[in-house]
Symmetry: none
Subunit: 239 residues, 2 copies
DNA sequence: CTCGATCTTCAGCCATCTCACAGGAGATCC
DNA sequence: GGATCTCCTGTGAGATGGCTGAAGATCGAG
């Protein structure tokens, strides 16, 4: 998930009529080092695509003026965007069969509510594919801990670690921020669905699960920073 | 299905008057790394063939102006295309005996609705034949599991495994994505016909069939990644 | 048309996962 | 050392996801 120093930061267009969604997503993506532009309606999106030339469009299916599908149609009809990959957003209960047809070429979709963590994983996957660097793997390494985004496998040294989906997302987030302290509320915002309104104690619980599965196999990697949050880092040789 | 680094990516012309079909097919083929051009009528197709010089034409039999057969006739009459191989598309109930005759000269046909998976297999087969590397087989190997695209034979070690068509397509897709998790909806999109609108439970059922036929003969190859999808991978020796 | 093979749906079972609760352990401050 | 936080974790209820047997639908061959 590190930015290849060679390529300039990718441009992403986020299209949704709910402000809360575009705010949330665009903030997270900017934090990831991506260039973000926002549109709130289909026509604005089309304008932005032809001007901003994004490498990827995050597109709500339900827009006030056009559906996401119509946006796509007009794009290809008017010859703009030249087949930009699209990540559709849709409510779970509106999940349209039509979407299935679109997930074939490099595109993908997510149902709302999603976790920002997962959105970013998918965006990275699409960008990776579009760049054709399939070799450039989706593997994150911290010390003797390895996580493969594609196969969903996690290793500590030679040991395979079996994680539940939530544990996986949490570890993924911690590994992306290795060496940095992340607060419980940051974790909650990123790893859990954005409409989760439960108690922040879940984070503690899942940290505890991860420790049992990961820290029990070697030196401690997950550290509590009391009053601040958690930090995953390899045992320091020195410093 | 990996791109030979040596040869430039093949050019394919897709001819159909239904937008949904050309969108679907061209997106999928571009994702496979092929160059695609689209035509919506017979005359446009002829023009495109002489200009774009495709290595293969995917040709709907029923076009607004000409039939697919007429397109073919004019091609040879006007000496354009120099006998480009053709993959015909036709509705199942219009399946013409004339079509069966065409499968002799390196051509092939498919009835609508088809699965994208199968379309791509056939296109790859035609391109392979056209390049004369018939010997260079279409054999995929994952661990002790082998699948031959041409003969439709599957082996686990020395044992022959007998699969139904759907089981075969599913296994083929899993093997192409060996080591990667594929979601049930991805599978549904690629392996089932594009107009299939049943629920994802079919995938579970066919995974279950495959497991009975394949995993019962040795170590587990098909793994469930709960909440994400399935992954086919050889047993890990180490790492 | 009939039959058998294959495909699909339905429904129930089971395993797993998620998360709230609450008491205990440990850190921090005075 | 004691009071007071913060964090940890065992327990268990409820939700979810995945598996599979069985029955109905469909297709294709003879």
């Amino acid at each position: 998930m590190t930015n290849a120093a060679t390529s300039p930061s990718p441009r992403i267009l986020v299209v949704d009529d709910e402000r809360s969604i575009t705010d949330l997503v665009s903030m997270a993506l900017r934090y990831e080092g991506l260039q973000v532009e926002v549109a709130n309606a289909g026509r604005d999106a089309l304008e932005s695509i032809s001007r901003f030339r994004p490498q990827l469009v995050v597109l709500d299916v339900m827009l006030p003026d056009l559906t996401g599908f119509e946006v796509l149609e007009r794009m290809s009809r008017d010859g703009i965007g030249g087949r930009v990959p699209v990540l559709f957003l849709t409510a779970r209960d509106t999940l349209d069969d039509k979407l299935r047809g679109f997930t074939l070429g490099g595109d993908d979709y997510m149902t709302k509510p999603f976790s920002v963590e997962e959105l970013i994983v998918r965006i990275r996957a699409i960008l990776r594919r579009a760049n054709g660097d399939g070799a450039n793997s989706a593997r994150i390494v911290v010390g003797d801990l390895e996580l493969d985004e594609e196969s969903h496998e996690v290793y500590r040294g030679s040991a395979v670690i079996d994680l539940t989906p939530t544990e996986f997302k949490l570890l993924h987030y911690l590994m992306l921020n290795a060496g940095r302290v992340v607060s419980k509320s940051q974790i909650l915002d990123r790893v859990w669905n954005y409409d989760f309104d439960g108690n922040a104690n879940v984070v503690e619980i899942y940290i505890s699960y991860l420790r049992k599965k990961i820290d029990s196999l070697g030196s401690r990697l997950i550290h509590t920073v009391r009053g601040v949050g958690y930090s995953l880092r390899p045992p320091r040789q020195q410093q």
